[in-house]
Structures are given as structure tokens and as C-alpha cells.
Symmetry: C2
Subunit: 354 residues, 2 copies
DNA sequence: TCAGCTCCAGGTAACGTTTTCCACCTGGCG
DNA sequence: CGCCAGGTGGAAAACGTTACCTGGAGCTGA
């Protein structure tokens, strides 16, 4: 038992010494891939329990065994989208017998690049990047370089909810049909008779997600022969405050509108609050539609109509495609469909304009 | 460049060969902890870039260098509490120069034990367990054993939002003052004149969190000389549906009450929905208070009064204490304070009983 | 009785780093 | 002119594990 009080971890050698066998035999008993006499196995197992021995994963990895790891790099953990994408990634990663490493970059693109490098050192089998963002030319170039470096060593760069980097960049891309969802949402409002539909949250037109959603909004208008009025296209970022302020701005300036398309559900929650404060009824006076279908959406009053995104499926799909590139060689860029969820916040346009 | 097209990762030896130096020198250039002539360093750096070399973290870890890792084990990623605790854990872990490994056990205590074992193999410097749960005697015993095994190897078991396992179990414990928060919440309602306060969600009395919150509810009654009426103590689990169903049950059975203490905010959202459906006004007819202060709470209509839990701080504190046991030797069990957040869902008790 | 086979166990090398020790070279100084 | 110090670089061991190869014991059949 003397060994037990030592500060170091017991090694295979220690177990071997206690059991009176060689290190090789201990390894074989634990792996179970080689015939070992029952009595010997017994002694080894007893020694293992006595010492509370567990193998050193790093040493095992060095020689080729042990579980591989998948790295998950995201802006932060508190966004409502993360939880579900993360859930999908973690579940699939575990199901595939891999371990899941998580890092956040707080929106700093350079930190993101650093993390990819770090994960390359960690021998990550796949490096998953989540969420859109603004990509500079330099950033894209470095990203391309890293993607190629990963590819060369049998690893994989995975983009979740972010468009491909370039045509010849080896990577797995799984994104939402943001444009299509925005088209459907806008189309839904137009079908209800709305003609003056404001959109809130296009403050960063270079943001890939923003761009796609705004494009869907525009295309729906075009499809119905309607024009997009600049006064109803409002900037703002992806937060509640932004939705609140810009809705108040619309009201203060007296811009006519019967519906609001919020770029995300979180923005929509701010919109609803501002409308409520102004004494406007939803959906009788103003219809509101969001985007993302976060859990909050169902709990708002009224329930928020929105575009459902298959978050969990996104995470799972990404991992599945990345780890089985041989089977899914042709599907390394998939666009997941979205669908409308109609709750109580959208209704027919009011007859007489507000 | 021939080396570049190979499937293997370049090693320090490959770099050395390209640069025309020894492996030792390459290592020294990269570590920067030994004088190397400028010209030599230049050649090495060029070779590194040419080969896109990154060190193998596993090999490095084996010999003592490289970043350590912290394991984060939780039920699942989609609960609203996780995001913030996880954020705290990840931030502090990164700030301390460690990597963060995440696993979920979906509520299965045995899976949780397996994961601890797995993380022990991974040489995790700390293994963080999040959230309460039902602990059987066998589970506690095994947990004790694992805590000791971790301790023996210089690692640490960390319990977040979960009471200590036992008196002599080496572990770091950071929990919320659940009893105190529940006392404050109930006290708040009593101060507003409520005398018939239902509590919803005590379906699993062995659940440590449930037990503590119920204890606070009971103590507040006692402190004011009030009795707890069994008909107003309702079971139910921690979900929205549970809050909804049990509120309907109360109404259907005609049990008198002027306030409801929901065991979590999520349960409270179901309560609010049921009350709204029944045509009751909050807080004019019924006051509602929740627990946890999840982001949703502020967005409900009316805003939900609740008990704020410092989630992010919990995560950060846990990691800090665990990694600096030498400095915080006496503080390996801390109870973080909570505070009431009064929003619109609580008000004076109605004069005449419903 | 002995070759040959099966069953089981051990020795050794290898994985990719870092680190410790040692050797070389170049100057400067006595 | 020889010697020592300081500045550089390399060889080898070590980390803990597994895989490959070798070898001994016991049994079987000729």
C-alpha cells in the first residue's frame, strides 16, 4: 500500500510490480485483446483496484490508442442558440466515441485563429467553428491556410452556420437557409395583407447572417411587386435593447408600418416590449415575426411567430459529416432547411392604417 | 516540400532535418528558454512555417509541459442555467491557461461516474460536477472513492450547486444558498400580506435542491407563525408543463391561494401561462415568484420576480478555488449568497380572498 | 523420446517531446 | 602560447503506453 500514499499517479509498471507480472501483461488484461490466464488476470485486476489505477490517456494517445477529440469553438456560451447547437455537437461527438473540447473567443477573430492553432496541437480530429461573423481578407486567408494544414494531417475544419470560406478550401460546411427563412417569414406577412413591413437589425450588412436574412426580406418584396422602403429598414445589432430602441424610433418618427420583421427572436422580444409600452396590441395593431425559434419565443406574450432553425440537428450533422468524410464525400456542404412557426404574434393587417 | 504531401503530421525531427539542425535545437527555438544563435533560429523558424509544424500536445503533456485540462460534467447543455455556469467555468479555465473538456450525462448517475473515471484518464486537473441530483448510498460511496483517487494524484473533484458528499471527502464545493433564497422569496410574499402561498415543484423531495428550497419555504412560514398547508404543497418536476398542470390542478380543486412560489423560473413560466388561461391577473389576483433568474424571467409578462443566483460567479469561483487550493485551503466549501429580484409578478395580496 | 504445436508471458522498441548532460568552438586573458 | 569561460549545439534518457517479436512450458502424436 506504500505506493498509494505517493503523490504520483500509479503507472502500468506499478500495477505490474504489485501483481507480480510484466507491464505487457497488465496492458493486455486491461485491453482484453490477448489471451491471459484467468489467475493472472485476477491478480492484475486486484492490483488495479488496489492502486486505483487508470491509464494515462496522453501516453495512450501518443502510441495511437485512446479516444480522439473534437474541438468546439464559439463566441460565448450564453447565447440561446449555443446551447442547442452545442448539445447537438456534444451528443454526436460522444456517440462517435470522441471527447469534446470547448473554447470561446468573445467575438475576437484573432483569438479564434489562435484557438484553431491550439486545437491543432491538441490533435483535434475536427475543429468546429460556430456562428457567423465579419471576415476580413486577411482572416479568410489565414483561415484557408489553417484549413489546409488541418486537412493535411487528416483533421477537418467544420463551419456551422457560416458560409464556406472559398471554393478550394477543404472544410465541412453546414448552414441554415437564412435567405429562404427570411423569404418565408416576409412572405407570410405579405400574405396576411401587410404592405408596410419594417425590418430591424441590419446594422452590420457585412455580417453574413444579416446579409442573407435581409436578402430574403428583399426578395419577398420583389416577388410581390413591392418596394422596400428605406425608412423601414433599420440598423441595430442582435440584442434586446436594439429591438426596443429602434421600435421606439419608428414610432417617434411616425414611420407607417403594420408589421415588424426582427432579425432575431431576441431583437423581437425588445420590439414586443416597446410596442406593449406604446399601448399597441400584437397582433391586432402590429404583427411581429422573429428568427431563430429560441425557447424564449414560445414563452413571450403573445407567443412569437418565428423561423425555426434546427440547431441541434446542425450540430449533430456537422460532426457526422466531418468524422465520416469517406461516406459523405459529396455532402461536405449542406444547407439545412428552416420552417415557419406561427404563434400568436402575427395576424391579418389592420384594415385602416394606424 | 515532399514532406508536406505526406499524411502524417510533421515532427520536431522533420523540422530539424529541413533546418539542418538537431531536434533539440528546434525544441529550444520554439520554447525560447535557451540561447540559440539568431541565424539558427531563423532557419528553424522558416522550416516550421514551411512545414506548418505544431507541437504534439500529447507528447508534450507526457513529458510534463503543455496546458492542463479541466473537465466539466453536466446533465445537458440546454438548460438555461448551464449556459451561465458554463460561461464562468470556461472563462476562468481559459484565464488560468487551461483547456476545458465538456461532457453530458443526461441525468444518469452511473454515466456521471464513468465520465469522472474517463476524465481521470485524461489527467484532468479538476473535474467539475454541476447541478443537484438524487444520490444513492452506493453512488455517494463511489463518488467518495473517486474524490480520494483524484486527490491522491493532485487532481480535484469540484461540486457546483451541489452539497458536499461527506465530511472527509476531499473536494471543492461551491453552492448557492438555496434555503436562504427560498426563505427570502417566501418572506417577501408574506410581507405583502399573502397567507395562502402554494409551492409547486417539490415532486422529488430527495433532490437536494428541492429539499433546500422547500426548507426555506417552510422556515419562512414558521418564522411568521404560519402553518404550511399540505394542499398547497404540490409535486412536479423542473419543467414548464409541470407548472402549468399543477396550477390548473389547484384551480380545478378550488384550493384557496393568493400566491405561488414556483421552484424554478421555468416552472413559473408554466404557472403564469395557466393563470393567464384561467383569466386571472398577475399580480392583482395572484402573485407569482420563481427561482434562478434565468434570462427568460425578465421577458415574461409581467416580468417575473425571482431569486437571482450568481451563475457565472459560481463557475468562476469553483475553478479558482480548485486550481489554487494552496491559497484557498480554508475556503474549499463556500456558499454563494442570493438576492431577490422584484419584478412585476408579485404584489400585495388581494383584500378579499378569491 | 522428441518434434511440433498451443498457450501464455516477458523483453524491447516505438510514439514525439523536453531536459540533462556533455562536447565543441571561439576569444580573451594571464 | 596555453587555459578557462561563455556561448552554442547535439546525443541520450525519460515520460507511460502498446505492438511486435521472442521464448519457455506443457501437451500431443508419431
Amino acid at each position: 500500500m506504500g505506493r498509494l500514499s505517493s503523490g504520483d499517479r500509479p503507472t502500468v509498471k506499478d500495477v505490474a510490480a504489485v501483481a507480480g507480472v510484466s507491464a505487457t501483461t497488465v496492458s493486455r488484461v486491461l485491453a482484453g485483446n490477448y489471451p491471459v490466464a484467468a489467475t493472472t488476470r485476477g491478480r492484475v485486476m486486484r492490483a488495479v483496484e488496489q492502486l486505483d489505477y487508470v491509464a494515462n490517456a496522453q501516453a495512450r494517445a501518443l502510441v495511437g490508442g485512446g479516444p480522439r477529440t473534437v474541438a468546439f469553438i464559439i463566441r460565448d456560451l450564453v447565447g440561446p442558440l449555443f446551447a442547442y447547437i452545442g448539445q447537438g455537437v456534444e451528443q454526436q461527438t460522444t456517440a462517435e466515441g470522441r471527447l469534446c473540447l470547448v473554447c470561446t473567443h468573445n467575438g475576437d477573430p484573432n483569438r479564434e485563429l489562435e484557438l484553431i492553432e491550439l486545437m491543432r496541437e491538441q490533435q483535434a480530429e475536427a475543429v468546429v467553428l460556430v456562428g457567423g461573423g465579419i471576415r476580413s481578407a486577411a482572416n479568410l486567408e489565414r483561415m484557408t491556410q489553417l484549413a489546409k494544414a488541418l486537412d493535411r494531417t487528416g483533421s477537418r475544419l467544420v463551419l456551422c452556420g457560416r458560409p464556406p470560406i472559398g471554393p478550394d478550401v477543404p472544410s465541412t460546411v453546414v448552414e441554415y437557409d437564412n435567405e429562404g427563412g427570411a423569404f418565408a417569414a416576409t412572405n407570410h406577412l405579405i400574405s396576411l395583407g401587410h404592405r408596410q413591413i419594417a425590418i430591424i437589425g441590419v446594422g452590420e450588412p457585412e455580417h453574413t447572417t444579416t446579409k442573407a436574412r435581409f436578402a430574403g426580406y428583399t426578395r419577398a418584396h420583389k416577388a410581390h411587386g413591392l418596394n422596400v422602403a428605406k425608412q423601414r429598414v433599420l440598423p441595430g445589432v442582435y440584442d434586446r435593447e436594439s429591438g426596443y430602441q429602434h421600435t421606439k424610433g419608428l414610432l417617434d418618427r411616425g414611420v407607417p408600418f403594420t408589421a415588424i420583421f426582427a432579425i432575431t427572436d431576441v431583437v423581437a422580444s425588445g420590439v414586443l416590449f416597446a410596442l406593449h409600452e406604446a399601448g399597441l396590441r400584437v397582433p391586432e395593431d402590429v404583427s411581429v415575426i422573429g428568427y431563430d425559434d429560441i425557447p424564449l419565443a414560445a414563452d413571450l406574450t403573445p407567443g412569437l411567430s418565428t423561423v425555426h432553425l434546427p440547431h441541434e440537428e446542425l450540430g449533430r450533422t456537422a460532426i457526422r459529416l466531418a468524422l465520416h468524410r469517406d461516406q459523405y464525400a459529396l455532402d461536405q456542404h449542406v444547407v439545412l432547411g428552416t420552417h415557419l412557426v406561427i404563434r400568436g404574434s402575427t395576424g391579418p393587417a389592420p384594415q385602416q392604417q394606424k
